[in-house]
Amino acid sequence: MDLTNGFAFICPFKTNSGNKALENLPVELAGLNACKPLIITSRKLAGGSAIGTLKNAFGDSGMTFGVFDEVTETADLNVVEQIRDIFIKGQYDSIIALGGGVIVDVAKIVNLAVSQKVADARQLSTATAIRDPLGPFVVIPTAAATGMETSKYASLHGISFVAVHLMPDLVILDPRLTRAKDGKAVAEAGFAAFGRILEADVAPGKNPLMHAYAFTALRFLRENLAEAVTKRCNKKASLAVANAVAMSGCVISNTDQTVLHRLGKVFQNIVHVHPGMIIGMCLYPFLDDQIKKDRSLLSNLLLTLGGDDKYVFMPEDGRPGAALREIYEFSYEIYAALKGKMPPTIREAGIQQYLMDDVLEVINQEPDGAYLRTIIDRVGGSSIKA
């Protein structure tokens, strides 16, 4: 790793992962100087049993807490304002987000609104400056997490916010909540995390601190994702995947390499598919390009994915290719396990023509739009167009 140009890195959240992790919540909240949290979640998206498990975790703590469980997929700033009002009137002092995706976006923006004491959350916009640290904020991802929960990004209905202060203080990964209900959802989350981390980790500007997270997360996914997809009873594999997904939020907050991430996001916004599905498709063509640009950057990937022996026993010039094979095998196992439930190309995803037109229009506006377009072409995007 070349340190000549220097680097900066930050991961503000603490991770608590494993058996009975949730039960530490009262102690952890006390450490954050919080005693009356408001839980933001969704009965529909996070599930009643997850909410029940969380409530039980407060055990005999004697704490009082609020539960807002009505976040929906289409939540907007009106919902944020509704929750802000509840937060103020109920004199809550901290926020716990239970779930993934939109639930956490809403929670982050509520935290912004209450911490910066805005009079009306509907006035918040992309231009809102986020200068100071926000109030105590805990994220408890479920299997529905996308990886963005732990990141510095939040977006809701086209309004987006970026600030390190939006990241949680604490992430709790509890095997009772991270167990996958649906193999496809785990695969999507896993692919999203894998792709986002991978592109940061094969970039020339990576630094050793970010690489520590990338290394851990990529290896966890390589070793556990297929298992978590096929054997839903395997709590340990799903927990390992959830760990990797949470780490991906840290990695993406410390990189400006976001080709795969942006591709996923465009489809997510326009076609309403999980970004992981698109990232999974684009993984291979993207890396194919990287290997043409600079083979040495992929060399280390073999060490991360294959382990010490595979790396050392492969001659130097075979390593980038072997890394690609690792990724090919990794994806193949997952696609095979899902037996067609996860489309490997855009064509097979059955995305309609008018939506593809919208996607391409947005992509053309990106500074590197022409390049992004070539990736889409290779995963069957253009053939719909033809």
Binding site: G18, N19, K20, E23, N24, P26, V27, K55, F58, G59, D60, S61, G62, M63, T64, F65, G66, V67, F68, D69, E70, I86, G90
Partner: protein
């Protein structure tokens, strides 16, 4: 939208309370029959008292020295001045530890246990708890619970010790 006041976990609490009672008595007994435990207590100051228990509201076990003798003082934290508290972060973790699913050492490395007081005292107390675990548990379980099962102790030492600790624990002498 609803506001909830966290309730209790009476069953787990009762279990933990029973085991704390048992462990407290066992320490008192072990201090009489085991030289290692005795030696460890000798390094601690007179009237030294420690408590082991769970956040936020107990239960607790208070053990200390009184006029040179080691005594179990019950579960009331206010019964006398306490020099060291070993605090388990929540009742679920207390259950794991006191049902011997996790040893004190393992629980510490899993951040389940906090110490409030001087580190040297805490180490002495953890060593005492380890020895008592070896006495109370069959070898198979104890060897999982402690880092190193003292297989070099003569067999008679352990057996006699165990019987001694058990009877004294139950009789409270």
């Amino acid at each position: 939208m609803q506001e909830i006041h966290a309730g209790g976990k009476p069953l787990k609490k009762a279990y933990v309370a029973i085991f704390l009672w048992f462990t407290g008595r066992a320490i008192q007994a072990a201090a009489k029959v085991d030289k290692e435990v005795k030696k460890e207590f000798d390094t601690l100051p007179d009237e030294f008292t420690f408590a082991l228990g769970s956040l936020p509201n107990g239960p607790w076990m208070v053990v200390g020295k009184e006029k040179g003798k080691v005594k179990y003082f019950g579960g009331n934290l206010k019964c006398r001045p306490i020099h060291l508290r070993l605090v388990i972060k929540n009742i679920e973790a207390a259950f794991l530890i006191l049902s011997f699913q996790e040893s004190t050492a393992l629980a510490t490395t899993r951040n389940r246990l906090m110490t409030d007081g001087e580190v040297p005292y805490a180490l002495s107390v953890i060593r005492i708890l380890d020895i008592v675990e070896v006495y109370l548990l069959p070898k198979l379980i104890a060897s999982l619970a402690v880092k190193r099962y003292p297989s070099w102790w003569p067999f008679g030492h352990k057996l006699a010790g165990r019987i001694g600790v058990y009877t004294r624990t139950l009789l409270g002498i």
